[in-house]
């Protein structure tokens, strides 16, 4: 399988709103204090849409924008893969409450926001991007499944692909079945060729058998381990650290994604 190249990354959590700060934290370095953290404010959304958009959409667009800017890539030209275990759980909570209470009060806006491809759709609109865009889920392995799809598209179409992973926190009664806590959005621009000598190459293959997720090395990552997108953390730790390394990201209890990171 040909390798893919990581041209840029994006990251957003409430306390760490960009990849350079996150990379330092994931390397165990003291993080620079983040100014203006709180709600992400992607510039591609019009102000009125930004006000109404749910957290998951804002977070996803924020990291998508960061990755495009870092790579100098035109957001309008990239195919995209959005992955999320649950979508926006505040919206799921509100939707289920309304349906259980008075379903006729369900608002069209809330229904718009409840679809799993809400972030994908808002990204396409905001970035004026007509390229293929998908929205995936794969339970606790949603990041790994999204990465597989992005790498697959990158190789089959020989085009750079934008991968975005985003999950939120369980709200209300959902907390009795859903352990996701905190907010995390990540992005990765994968390309069939490197853009600069700083890009990292990732050789990849499917690896049969049961593989545990790699242990998290940093305190910053460990604070996010209950997050539904936490299966992204080992790869982002490895990318924050410049050393060559191999790691296995589980795709299920019987299959993993074997990744080998090296300089481009």
């Amino acid at each position: 399988m040909p390798p893919v190249f990581v041209q840029a990354l994006g990251w957003w959590t409430p306390g760490c709103p960009d990849w350079p700060r996150a990379a330092a934290a994931l390397r165990g370095e003291p993080a620079a204090p983040a100014a203006g953290a709180g709600r992400p404010a992607p510039t591609l959304l019009a102000a009125n849409e930004r006000r109404r958009a749910p957290d998951a959409v804002l977070m996803a667009l924020q990291v998508a924008e960061e990755a495009c800017t870092a790579a100098g890539a035109d957001p309008a030209t990239l195919p995209s893969v959005f992955t999320s275990a649950y979508g926006d759980l505040a919206i799921v909570d509100a939707l289920c409450r309304t349906l259980a209470g008075d379903p006729r009060l369900l608002s069209p806006m809330r229904f718009h926001h409840s679809v799993h491809n809400a972030a994908s759709g808002y990204w396409a609109i905001g970035a004026r991007n007509p390229e293929a865009s998908t929205a995936l889920a794969a339970g606790a392995h949603s990041f790994a499944a999204g990465w597989l799809e992005a790498a697959t598209q990158c190789i089959t179409d020989e085009r750079a692909v934008l991968l975005v992973g985003c999950d939120t926190e369980a709200m209300g009664p959902l907390q009795s079945v859903n352990a996701s806590r905190g907010l995390l959005a990540v992005a990765m621009l994968l390309a069939p060729q490197p853009r600069t000598a700083q890009d990292r190459a990732i050789a990849w293959r499917l690896q049969p058998g049961a593989h545990a997720a790699p242990p998290l090395r940093s305190a910053a990552a460990r604070t996010l381990q209950a997050q539904a997108m936490a299966d992204a953390l080992p790869l982002f730790e490895a990318l924050a650290d410049k050393a060559s390394t191999t790691l296995s990201l589980p795709l299920s209890t019987t299959l993993a994604l074997a990744l080998t990171l090296s300089p481009a």
């Binding site: 069209p108 229904f111 609109i125 009664p173």
Partner: protein, 402 residues
């Protein structure tokens, strides 16, 4: 709009086995009879707990289906629909043989759904315990996630290859076939079960009611009297491999309107890009299509844009039909269900009609009317296209052939 690189032709992949269960009944022959008779399976809404005056495409008997003890924790309308759908047309055996040929680790699963098992979460919210938690009987965590049906089907079929849920509204299971083809092309797997499953439930019905696009009467795609969509439910499955078979997936194209979450691009630019990409991968011109199964939801805006696309791009001899008035709009299952409507045309020459619509809206013009077919036709064809243009501006066009 930036310059879009046209994809290169792809090697077609084989539809080795397939099955579909929807409002016409269990299995592909029930669907084929419904299509041959141009019989709409829509009925007035009679779902318990859904107080809406609308037509639905409902699968009978799901509630009373004996549910296997082994799967007790997985019980829901959507998993029942998936289970019932799998037990037809020898599909489970065909998958078992593929697992024997290749090893279960070399057989993947891509399942398209929009609402998955959200109805279970809805039910839990109606029955919260005195501490505001889900009732004990509804606390199986794996049911409260969009990936639930995929995980269920994966376990039922014993598949150990990659498994992923595609959830891009109405294009979901059309895109599942595109994912499957890419996995096969890169030899990540040797076979893939592509699936589309969506069951009727409160979020879809009340959601489309909130958007104001739910029709009261059975939907009439492309009719001057079209008054909104009818939601249906279906489970569709296809086993896809490299190699040759009677029906091949020859191309797929995906795009986004980049226009609005629930209104199509007025000139249909996204839809046309998806069509162009599907044709480029198939190495065919639009004029080579003998059949096109339209997205045709019977919403005012969608049908108008799609009619213009058909008139502009397809040959006057094409058989254009819209089958959502027969089956209902089966949401995430629609893409694959309608690809299988095309497969029936390619395999046995059954070209579907478009009941209950007879005459298309005159505003679509004579070129569309010439291509439109209200009645089924029996004739051999070589190539068919299927349109899926969904919510969130998400488009997928498939090209199938024999």
């Amino acid at each position: 709009m930036k310059l879009h690189p046209r994809p290169r032709p792809m090697a077609p992949v084989a539809l080795r086995a397939w099955t579909a269960t929807g409002a016409h009944g269990q299995g592909i022959e029930a669907l084929a009879r419904g299509l041959a008779g141009n019989r709409s399976a829509l009925r007035a809404n009679d779902l318990a707990g859904i107080d809406l005056a609308t037509a639905i495409g409902r699968v009978d008997g799901l509630e009373s289906l004996p549910w296997p003890d082994d799967w007790a924790a997985w019980d829901s309308r959507a998993t029942r629909l998936a289970w019932w759908g799998l037990q037809a047309d020898g599909f489970v055996d065909a998958v078992a043989r593929a697992c024997e040929r290749h090893g279960a680790g070399r057989v993947g699963l891509v399942l398209g759904t929009s609402s998955s098992t959200i109805a279970v979460s809805e039910a839990a919210y109606r029955a919260l315990d005195d501490q505001g938690r889900f009732p004990a009987a509804l606390r199986h965590p794996e049911l409260h996630t969009p990936h639930a049906i995929t995980a269920f089907v994966q376990q039922v079929l014993g598949l150990q290859g990659p498994a992923v849920t595609v959830s891009t509204a109405c294009s979901s299971s059309a895109k599942a076939l595109a994912v499957a083809e890419r996995w096969l092309r890169l030899q990540l797997v040797d076979a893939v079960v592509a699936a589309g499953v969506d069951a009727l439930g409160g979020s879809l019905l009340y959601g489309f009611q909130a958007l104001g696009v739910l029709g009261r009467e059975p939907c009439r795609p492309f009719d001057a009297a079209r008054r909104g969509i009818s939601i249906g439910e279906a489970a569709a499955f296809a086993l896809v491999e490299r190699g040759e078979a009677a029906v091949m997936l020859q191309g797929h194209g995906e795009s986004n309107d980049a226009h609005h979450m629930s209104t199509p691009h007025p000139q249909g630019l996204g839809a046309e890009q998806a069509l162009d990409d599907a044709l480029a991968r198939a190495g065919l011109a639009a004029a080579a299509m003998d059949l096109v199964n339209l997205h045709g939801t019977a919403s005012a805006a969608n049908d108008e844009v799609e009619a213009a696309l058909v008139a502009r791009r397809y040959a006057p001899t094409v058989h254009a039909c819209a089958t959502k008035g027969l089956t209902g709009h089966t949401m995430g299952a629609a893409g694959l269900l309608e690809a299988l409507v095309c497969a029936l045309a390619l395999e046995r020459g059954l070209l579907a009609g478009s009941a209950p619509t007879t005459t298309p809206d005159p505003v679509f013009g004579p070129a569309f009317a010439e291509r439109w077919h209200a009645q089924p036709v029996q004739r051999r064809i070589r190539h068919a296209a299927s349109h899926s243009f969904g919510f969130g501006g998400n488009n997928c066009v498939l090209v199938l052939g024999c």
